[in-house]
């Protein structure tokens, strides 16, 4: 009973105060036939044994820092995480606190989240950010909820770009089941080379929102200004799902006129952790703040005239609005949001731009070298950031199996989601990939091409 600090004597004293004979008597209200089941679980490990067991499991993986070279992205990216990030997240005062309901003794969390909101607004070019959503995909789904609420449920169609991440599209579909919204545009057989502006053909006056990705799932960077204007002309909102690293370099969706900008904050100093937890950022225009889901920190003063922060506009949330709340979100991704704030504070203006440019440079070097391989080639010609679709002209799983033998995790198999992209992989390159690694990839893929 390492974590239970009550001795047998204390227990008996306490039972005496309560007036029951034994611990078991505290549970008389529970139907006797189901009371005290024998659980078929392994017997308890001590800390020393558990540490060992978990090391064993972790070592049964091959990780992309010490075991494998990776060119896998598709929504999660292997970036360098400065040491300070985790040092700050390990402060017990941060990670063992609850949601800051009592602002007098929660200013650490509150100010940090206020800073996170500010950083996200600065990155996306939007007015306001909430305190976080679960991840990029759920943030995108919540954008639909916002839009649906904004039009008081009168517009029931959601237009989703086919170049939005397939898993994000899946989550939006799941979320929309209850409301029975029509999801359009989400077509794996769509023409992926067409101008993104063509999506406007799907938007009608029953449409509450159109959702685009930036850079798109294939890494391509488009200026969506015109498309957004056109969607606005139909009376609908536009949500842009953005990669935050790309935002250090490329025009903000805010400046293109987007109403909502969301995305996954994982690239900002959060480990991939086999997929989570990461953080979904959610930013919008000030006129929509009352419809926005999630917690919100605002600046104020305390009774000593000190600048301070509180959770504000809480009347939007489930604990007050109950079934009429836009979302049921309660626990969010506070600590991970803090992690991104620490990361952005460290990198700052110049550092984040530098990371983005390193990704850009290395991805373009890789693309250029790979496209020289006989029988392989880039799929698209548009400007791209740090991911690109490569035609490998044979089944991607075979190619990846070969790469794995050389200690390389190849790109994401695009044929899974897009029949027209059979034999194509999505390659991601970050600042973590050295030229040597890229050259190795090129070399092994050349073998594949020739063998």
């Amino acid at each position: 009973m390492t974590y239970i600090p009550i001795s047998p004597k204390e227990r008996d004293d306490m039972l005496g105060t309560i007036g029951v004979k034994s611990l078991d008597n505290l549970f008389d209200a529970i139907p006797a036939k189901h009371r005290f089941p024998k659980l078929d679980l392994p017997t308890a490990l001590t800390e020393m044994e558990a540490a060992d067991e978990l090391s064993g499991l972790a070592n049964a993986n091959e990780n992309v820092r010490s075991d494998l070279i990776s060119f896998l992205g598709a929504g999660m990216y292997n970036h360098y995480i400065p040491s300070v990030v985790d040092h700050m997240l390990r402060r017990g005062e941060f990670y063992t606190a609850y949601t800051p309901y009592q602002p007098e003794i929660s200013q650490g969390t509150l100010q940090a989240i206020f800073e996170y909101q500010s950083l996200m607004s600065a990155l996306t070019g939007m007015d306001v950010s909430n305190a976080s959503h679960y991840d990029g995909a759920t943030a995108a789904a919540e954008a639909v909820n916002l839009a649906y609420a904004q039009f008081r449920g009168k517009r029931k169609k959601v237009v989703v770009s086919p170049t939005l991440h397939p898993q994000y599209r899946a989550v939006i579909r799941t979320y929309m089941q209850g409301m029975e919204l029509e999801v359009a545009g989400d077509d794996p057989n769509a023409n992926l080379e067409s101008n993104p502006n063509d999506l406007i053909s799907q938007v009608d006056d029953n449409t509450c929102i159109a959702i685009l990705q930036y850079p798109d799932f294939f890494g391509r960077v488009y200026d969506y200004t015109k498309l957004i204007e056109d969607v606005h002309a139909k009376g609908a909102l536009v949500c842009v799902v953005a990669n935050p690293t790309a935002l250090a370099m490329f025009k903000t969706p805010g400046s293109m006129g987007a109403d909502i900008v969301v995305g996954d904050g994982q690239p900002l100093g959060i480990p991939m952790w086999y997929g989570g937890p990461s953080v979904g950022f959610f930013t919008t225009r000030k006129n929509m703040v009352h419809k926005m889901a999630g917690r919100l920190v605002g600046e104020t003063v305390d009774n000593k005239s000190q600048r301070a922060y509180v959770l504000t506009l809480t009347a939007r949330e489930q604990h007050i609005k109950r079934d009429r709340a836009t979302s049921n979100i309660c626990t969010n991704q506070g600590l991970i949001a803090l992690g991104t704030a620490v990361y952005l504070s460290l990198l700052g203006k110049k550092g984040l731009r530098q990371v983005a440019e390193l990704c850009y440079q290395k991805a373009h070097y890789a693309a250029e070298q790979l496209s020289k391989i006989d029988g392989m080639g880039l799929c698209f010609t548009e400007p791209f950031f740090h991911e690109f679709a490569l035609c490998v002209n044979r089944p991607v799983d075979e190619v990846n199996a070969h790469l794995l033998e050389h200690g390389i995790i190849g790109g994401y198999d695009l044929g899974q989601d897009y029949p027209s992209l059979k034999d194509h992989m999505l390659i991601a390159v970050t600042e973590m990939n050295t030229k040597e690694e890229i050259d190795t990839l090129v070399e092994v893929l050349s073998e594949v091409a020739n063998g």
Binding site: I30, D40, V84, E93, Y134, K251, L335, I409
Partner: protein
């Protein structure tokens, strides 16, 4: 939302990172590029400025270290926040979840390269099934509310799969947590509120009256938010099942039931776990959590995709090959990738592995012991409206005859005694509610000191009520102007106007 905050004349205890910024500083240096240079894309595609703050490493460390000291936390004291299970979070979990093999695996890696992760997830699914008595478990949901939404989607999909399409009403007790009705609201269903009886149980008559063939099901927290185990739980479930409804259990209060009773055995059909409550995943100042959902056999096919399964059986010396499987009638994906693996699942796995069946039962027994001990010592001073043996928490009233002191004042005054206050004003059915959940990880000395403080405060409420109205007075920050925050809506800050001129 003025660019200039109206708190301009306020004292600044700790500047923001934007206030601290100075041109040219940086907190980390990145290597130069090692590849031949490619031209940047056309200028029209690029942003011209990036208004992020600039700080050196020391500035960042001092800033966030100082901020952290403004927080109350489990690591610094007693945090009896009802419904939140603020138990101590063992430090070993912080180590295991940071093993490089977990930190640096990509969710889309070939399954052959991540058998450690998958074995852990598979085992955890099995363990949660065994603990709860359910037939299937998804680890995907990100938090309790996300689990609720998942569960309600499954309930809807089940009825729909049977062409039972007129069910649109969800029964929810008046004491329920806000996320329950909100989850239902997100589905376009209607909430029917069921009152509680005078012993804090579901009012059976009202329930019976509401049960008809338009009922999707019922969402019940048991023990409920009064901390009471429903004395007619089997009858309640019978009534719901009787009208074709599905019984949803809000597992937020599972800390009372480990090794005590399995919700599945009682007849619940769906339940979410809060790994960040029951299984000691730290709350992180608001998250991340982890909200797996367990379902009975008839609902297994509707679970979100993917689940972790065995895709090649074990053979001789070879372990099984774990991989992903898709339930036949899956509602789909709840989020990208596979749930809160690192932050949630690894910690909870470590915690369960270190407790085993007996240790889990200890958790609940001592959680309930501690709550009853507090209740027994406090009931003469604070009215406990539903006064019987409670489970892991109980609710008292924070008001006194003839005094204008409110629960909020008591909460704030507790801070002066170095305690985190209980949950206030929830559940809604208790006046001036103080919802107290001590958890099993607190010792008797702490509980006694907390009781002493509350008794002292009750006295102060009579003799020096202003001490309470003006509390807290010993903390670094005092009461907040919440109205100003909501009216002015300053939701972010920026670099100073002429920032770049100082470069």
């Amino acid at each position: 939302m003025a660019n200039v905050s109206s708190t301009l004349n306020a004292k600044i205890v700790e500047p923001t990172i934007f206030d601290l910024s100075s041109p040219g500083r940086t907190g980390v240096t990145m290597p130069a590029s090692d590849v031949p240079e490619t031209a940047l894309p056309p200028k029209e595609l690029l942003r011209s400025d990036l208004p992020l703050p600039e700080l050196a490493e020391v500035d960042v460390v001092r800033h966030y270290t100082r901020l952290s000291t403004f927080n109350y936390s489990v690591d610094t004291g007693f945090y009896p926040l009802g419904s939140c299970t603020m138990k101590y979070n063992p430090k070993i979990n912080e180590d295991t979840c940071r093993l490089p093999g977990f930190l640096f695996t990509h969710p889309l890696q070939p399954v052959e390269t991540v058998q450690g992760n998958l074995a852990l997830m598979y085992q955890l699914q099995e363990w949660l099934k065994e603990i709860s008595g359910f037939a299937g478990v998804t680890l995907q949901p990100a938090a309790g509310a996300h689990g609720e939404f998942t569960g309600v989607l499954i309930m809807r999909a089940y009825h729909k799969s049977r062409n039972d399409v007129k069910r649109t009403k969800m029964l929810i007790p008046d004491a329920a947590h806000g996320t329950n009705p909100a989850s239902v609201g997100m589905m376009g269903m209607t909430v029917v509120t069921i009152p509680s009886d005078e012993r804090g149980n579901v009012d059976l008559k009202a329930l019976e009256a509401a049960c008809d063939d338009t009922v999707v099901g019922m969402m019940l927290t048991n023990p409920n938010t009064l901390g009471l185990f429903d004395e007619h739980i089997e009858k309640v479930i019978e009534l719901v099942h009787g009208c074709g409804g599905i019984m949803y259990g809000d597992g937020a209060n599972l800390n009372a039931l480990l090794g005590i009773v399995r919700p599945g055995d009682l007849g619940f059909d769906v339940m979410h776990f809060n790994l960040h409550k029951t299984f000691a995943v730290p709350h992180g100042g608001g998250g991340p959590g982890s909200g797996p959902v367990g379902v009975a056999a008839h609902l297994v096919d509707f679970l979100p995709e993917p689940l972790v399964g065995i895709i090649e059986d074990a053979e001789d010396d070879l372990p099984p090959l774990y991989g992903f499987v898709k339930p036949a009638k899956s509602i789909g994906r709840m989020k990208a990738f596979h749930g809160h693996f690192g932050g949630g699942l690894v910690r909870a796995f470590t915690y369960i592995a270190m407790h085993g069946p007996d240790g889990l039962k200890d958790i609940s027994q001592y959680a309930v012991l501690n709550a009853n001990y507090l209740q027994a010592r406090l009931r003469d001073t604070y009215k406990v409206p539903f006064d019987r043996i409670c489970m892991h928490e109980f609710v008292a009233e924070g008001r006194f005859e003839g005094s204008d002191v409110r629960a909020l004042d008591i909460a704030k005054r507790l801070m002066d005694y170095n305690f985190h206050p209980p949950t206030n004003y929830f559940p809604l059915i208790v006046h001036e509610a103080l919802m107290i959940e001590p958890t099993e990880t607190e010792n008797k000395d702490t509980l006694d000191a907390f009781v002493d403080a509350l008794i002292k405060i009750a006295e102060e409420a009579k003799t020096q009520p202003d001490l309470l109205h003006n509390a807290p007075s010993t903390t670094r920050f005092g009461r907040m102007d919440e109205v100003k925050a909501a009216r002015e809506l300053v939701l972010c800050c920026w670099l100073p106007e002429n920032y770049d001129e100082n470069a």
